[in-house]
């Protein structure tokens, strides 16, 4: 249960971007969470909402994209996802089947409301920053 720390890192990244770019108000935060990232997404959404409450990011939607774990066989090129933890190629039986996706944990996009400025405090930080 470390989603609170993950959510805090997401919020830190958004705040830093908005502060540096003097960006307008954030309406949506798009994150990509891989199946292998060890993150429970319901818990992440709950923690995100709790952290942004009372800050300039309050009300921003957290949009979570699930990225499935996929392996690709080095022998025959077969790509497979189901039961991706089992390291055996269903097509040729090879054990050389590294993951090609599933470890993602990124803040990939922000949707900004160009009509509304982000409230900042007297030192130019996004209001409510920790």
């Amino acid at each position: 249960m470390h989603e609170m720390g993950i959510a805090a890192s997401v919020v830190d990244i958004v705040r830093q971007y908005v502060t540096d770019a003097q960006a307008p108000l954030v309406r949506r935060v798009h994150v990509r969470v891989g199946e292998l990232a060890g993150v429970q997404t319901e818990s992440l959404a709950f923690c995100f909402e709790a952290i942004v409450a009372g800050t300039a990011l309050q009300g921003a939607a957290l949009d979570i994209e699930h990225v499935p774990a996929v392996r690709a066989c080095r022998g025959c090129g077969e790509r497979f996802g189901d039961g991706a933890f089992l390291a055996i190629c269903p097509a040729c039986g090879s054990g050389e089947v590294p993951f090609v996706s599933g470890s993602e944990l990124t803040v990939s996009e922000l949707e900004l409301d160009d009509e509304v400025e982000t409230p900042v405090d007297d030192v130019g930080q996004v209001a409510g920053a920790r």
């Binding site: 249960m1 470390h2 720390g5 993950i6 890192s9 997401v10 830190d12 990244i13 971007y17 770019a21 960006a23 309406r27 994150v31 292998l36 990232a37 060890g38 933890f85 089992l86 390291a87 055996i88 054990g95 944990l105 990124t106 803040v107 990939s108 996009e109 922000l110 949707e111 900004l112 409301d113 160009d114």
Partner: protein, 219 residues
């Protein structure tokens, strides 16, 4: 409305600190491994027996991670090795910053091997790089042979599996061949040792592997 692409890794802070730690360890030719397992599998006992086996041959140091207490650091300190206790106060895993702080309290130049004993937890420590060369996962026979399938991330991210408490095999329903087969299904590259900290069976073979790794890191 406008959309900007920022593509930032959520764990970038931890990853950057882990990279700093790794560089610091590499510069000194120090072999560092991250010892992970569920609570009670025998990480600290394995460490004690490893110290007994190696203390005349290698200079070992230990970072102990626990949710609470310095009981493990006290146990390890009895063997005369430098040890720093990290108390996470509820956090379920160690992070690179905690390891950096702990490493500051050790004389790294006076060590050949640094062992980071993580918080007992077969889930979360799998996803946090600390700057170690590799992860060693300990699984005891009392936990059951199905654990690699139930907690795959840890076995996927580890390079070595130590099957501990093999002296208890006659008394517990654990099929060690099935255990190893399950682990290799998840990670075919796992190097596997079998140990007992009571009979000391397997401790010399495991310790020899550490000597080889330390020599390679030093070269």
């Amino acid at each position: 409305m406008s959309v900007v692409t920022i593509e930032r890794k959520v764990l970038e802070k931890n990853d950057a600190l882990a990279a700093q730690n790794r560089l610091r360890f590499r510069d000194r030719g120090l072999f560092v491994f991250n010892l992970v397992s569920s609570p009670g599998s025998g990480k600290t006992s394995l460490l004690e027996q490893t110290i007994v086996e190696l203390r005349d041959r290698l200079r070992l140091g230990v970072i102990e991670g626990d949710v609470q207490t310095d009981l493990d650091a006290q146990r390890v300190a009895r063997y005369g090795v430098p040890v720093v206790q990290v108390v996470t106060n509820g956090s379920c895993h160690l992070e690179a910053q905690l390891v950096q702080n702990a490493a500051d309290q050790l004389d790294l130049d006076g060590l050949d091997v640094l062992v980071i004993e993580n918080v007992g937890n077969l889930v979360c420590p799998a996803n946090f790089d600390l700057g170690e060369a590799l992860k060693v996962v300990v699984l005891s026979t009392t936990e059951g042979d199905d654990k690699p399938l139930k907690y795959p991330a840890m076995f996927r991210n580890a390079s070595v599996l130590v099957v501990n408490k093999i002296d208890l095999l006659p008394y517990v329903p654990c099929d060690i061949e099935a255990l190893k087969r399950n682990a290799r299904q998840i990670n075919p590259d796992l190097v596997i040792f079998e140990t007992s900290c009571t009979s000391r069976e397997g401790i010399p073979a495991w310790s020899d592997w550490i000597i080889q790794q330390a020599a390679a890191a030093h070269a």
